[in-house]
């Protein structure tokens, strides 16, 4: 309980510094704090947290950042080399200097939450917290109590945005551990289309806690490709609660790529509320050392003729621990839905561990659903076969490990992102194994 009090004291101190805010925000903040106080941090006795111990977070006294200072050069090295609209946050603080919002096309709004609130707080009040309420989890409640900054992305009806939208969250190597509670609010109106990249990264020695809540609302026919590239520093703690709401004929594709962080928990939930809505959940989690990566996903087929397709791959080495819990829920009368789920895990060491639990809950009778999970190790025969061709052992293992991620990685169409994943998973493959070059060679051959 004293752990909870520490966080509440930090909250109180912050509240005293804060200028007056609209009543609805103050009320939600209070509700968040009350809920958090009542629930406390989750323990492993909670079914949803059975395999994830959050004491590393609860027992740390995190400060709140005071500014967004970050060197241009340092940020440039971390930033994805992608031509994009970019919003950057440093330990939760908005950094105008590291953002690029020049010449936004008509119909696209990207702004920091603080600005959105100043300009028109009532327009934010409706959607914010509508999908992720304080009831969802102690972390969502904690986030709501502390929320100050984040990203608001709005797509007007029919707006098709060509360039990706990057939300970049940088974590600094501060003198003391720092926490932030960002919000991401995406409203994609009818038939709009965009690619959103949430990128979590930072300075190697950082030891901060990021507790993000994301809400993504896709109206009729909207298409959103949502990349979440989590390459937080290896000392960072990362908790993300992401809720998606999908209207009729909308298509949401999630690429949930987890490479960094000491302790990581993702909750990804999509509500398929209109006929023809489709959710694609692709995930990759890579752990080494003593990293702990927990992915909880849920697809709610709330309407007939909705489709979901999930493929999560876990690669765990050393003493890393992965958790996959995927649930497909089919509501009564949600007929003619299709829900597929697959989870495959590769353990690179004897001490690595995975806890996988796929779940189906079906209350309709005319559905097509399947799920499955497998866990294995690298095929030693294949390693041997590659070595007999002259490829050294480390490279053979790296190539096979990378190949395991194949189906997920192949779906990533942004090279800058797949290169980051490749580097993390397979290490820096020597130039002679440069896969991009080989792909070009191969495609040239087919001409």
């Amino acid at each position: 309980m004293s752990e909870v009090l520490t966080f509440l004291e930090t909250l109180k101190a912050r509240s005293q510094q804060r200028a007056e805010e609209p009543t609805w925000i103050a009320a939600r903040r209070q509700a968040g704090a009350a809920r958090f106080e009542a629930m406390g941090f989750p323990t492993r006795r909670d079914e949803e947290w059975k395999y994830t111990d959050v004491r590393a977070i609860s027992q740390t006294n995190f400060a709140l950042a005071e500014n967004a200072e970050f060197s241009q050069a340092g940020a440039a090295a971390l930033t994805l080399p992608i031509d994009a609209y970019r919003l950057t946050f440093v330990d939760g603080f908005f950094s105008a200097a590291l953002s690029d919002l020049d010449s936004l096309p008509q119909g696209l709004q990207i702004l920091p939450l603080s600005q959105a609130l100043t300009e028109n707080h009532e327009a934010v009040g409706g959607p914010l917290g509508r999908l992720t309420g304080v009831e969802f989890s102690p972390f969502a409640a904690l986030n709501t109590a502390f929320m100050e900054e984040g990203a608001v992305v709005r797509l007007a009806p029919g707006t098709v945005v060509e360039k990706p939208i990057v939300l970049q969250f940088l974590s600094r190597a501060n003198a003391e551990p720092t926490m932030c509670h960002p919000r991401v609010l995406v409203e994609a109106a009818g038939r709009s289309e965009a690619t959103l990249i949430e990128h979590y990264t930072g300075e190697a020695d950082a030891q901060n806690f990021t507790n993000v809540v994301g809400e993504y609302m896709l109206d009729r026919g909207a298409i959103v490709n949502h990349y979440k590239l989590q390459e937080a520093p290896l000392g960072d703690y990362h908790v993300a609660s992401m809720h998606v709401e999908q209207g009729r004929d909308s298509r949401y594709s999630s690429y949930n790529l987890n490479l960094g962080g000491a302790l990581v928990r993702n909750d990804l939930i999509s509500d398929l509320n209109g006929k023809g809505a489709e959710a694609n959940f692709l995930g990759l989690f890579f752990g080494q050392g003593r990293q702990h990566v927990d992915n909880h996903t849920k697809v709610n087929h709330n309407a007939p003729l909705t489709f979901s397709n999930e493929n999560y791959k876990g690669i765990l080495g050393d003493r890393a621990h992965g958790v996959f819990n995927g649930k497909v829920f089919v509501k009564r009368d949600s007929q003619k839905i299709e829900g597929f789920q697959s989870n495959q895990n590769l353990l690179l060491s004897d001490r690595a561990r995975i806890d996988a639990k796929p779940e189906l809950e079906i209350y309709a009778d005319d559905v097509k659903c399947s799920h499955g999970t497998t866990t294995g190790q690298l095929d030693e025969e294949a390693v041997y076969a590659m070595r007999t061709r002259g490829i050294d052992e480390a490279t053979a293992r790296a190539l096979l490990t990378l190949a395991f991620a194949g189906e997920v990685l192949d779906a990533v169409t942004l090279d800058a992102i797949s290169e980051r994943v490749e580097l993390a998973v397979a290490g820096k493959l020597p130039e002679r194994f440069n896969l991009t070059g080989l792909v070009e060679t191969a495609s040239a051959l087919n001409e």
Partner: protein, 249 residues
């Protein structure tokens, strides 16, 4: 080129090779024949460096170097290449990746530069045509979903691209129909030259109609009991291994 002397090999406690000696010179094609269980595949596996084989006595040298002290990949880089009886599937690794990665690893190990992409493409195209393989093979994962014949062709394709000094082909004819066998034999024959040697491990004489060996060895119970020229293989075809086993006993 390859000298095997008094080789004793144990697998899981039982002795499979019991004092095998073999000498292969550049330019020669040797066929190692024998009944099932004689240890034919063991020899090539030990030379390639497969785990689980314990050499208790004897030596293997390749161009004067002690093969038994080399890593698996070093043996390949030195020019020793094994064509598998049961080629291994390598899921998710495309054929073309493997070919280029392997070729460059070998070139770099020999102190040569990596092959420029256009030159590599040219080489691959030629060899694919020669092996009567469709370019789509390059984009497929190594051996995944390949038929038996396709796998064997793929092994020979690797040989043609990697150009080993000593190619060891383990039962390369098994599971092949006569047309596929001709293609595979043409591939192997194209490797023949004064600088290179080939060791064919086979149970049947059939393959030797297409790849005529300079020397034939009969392996029975872990030892070479008889050596001769191509005529010896024909004798075996006519009389079987029994007569030889008896004379050796």
């Amino acid at each position: 080129m390859l000298e095997v002397k008094d080789l004793h090999v144990t697998v899981e406690g039982s002795e499979i090779l019991k004092g095998l000696s073999l000498s292969i010179k550049a330019g020669e094609v040797h066929a190692l024949m024998g009944p099932n269980g004689a240890g034919k595949s063991t020899l090539s596996a030990v030379i390639a460096g497969k785990d689980g084989y314990e050499v208790t006595q004897g030596s293997i040298t390749f161009e004067g170097k002690n093969v038994l002290e080399m890593e698996i990949e070093e043996r390949a880089q030195a020019g020793l290449l094994l064509g598998f009886q049961y080629p291994v599937e390598i899921p998710g690794v495309k054929n073309i990746y493997l070919l280029k990665a392997a070729l460059n690893a070998q070139r770099v190990a020999r102190g040569e530069s990596e092959i420029p992409a256009p030159e590599f493409m040219k080489l691959i195209k030629e060899q694919l045509n020669f092996m009567k393989m469709d370019p789509s093979f390059l984009q497929r994962a190594v051996n995944e979903g390949f038929s038996g014949g396709e796998k064997k062709r793929n092994e020979i394709l690797q040989m043609l691209v990697l150009q080993p000094k000593l190619a060891m082909l383990d039962e390369i004819d098994s599971g092949l129909d006569i047309d596929a066998m001709k293609v595979v034999a043409d591939g192997v024959n194209s490797l023949r030259d004064q600088e290179r040697a080939i060791l064919l491990v086979t149970h049947y004489q059939r393959l030797l109609d297409y790849i005529v060996p300079d020397k034939v060895h009969v392996l029975v119970d872990g030892r070479i009991v008889k050596s001769g020229d191509a005529e010896l293989a024909k004798e075996l075809e006519a009389n079987g291994y029994e007569g030889i086993e008896e004379s050796a006993a």
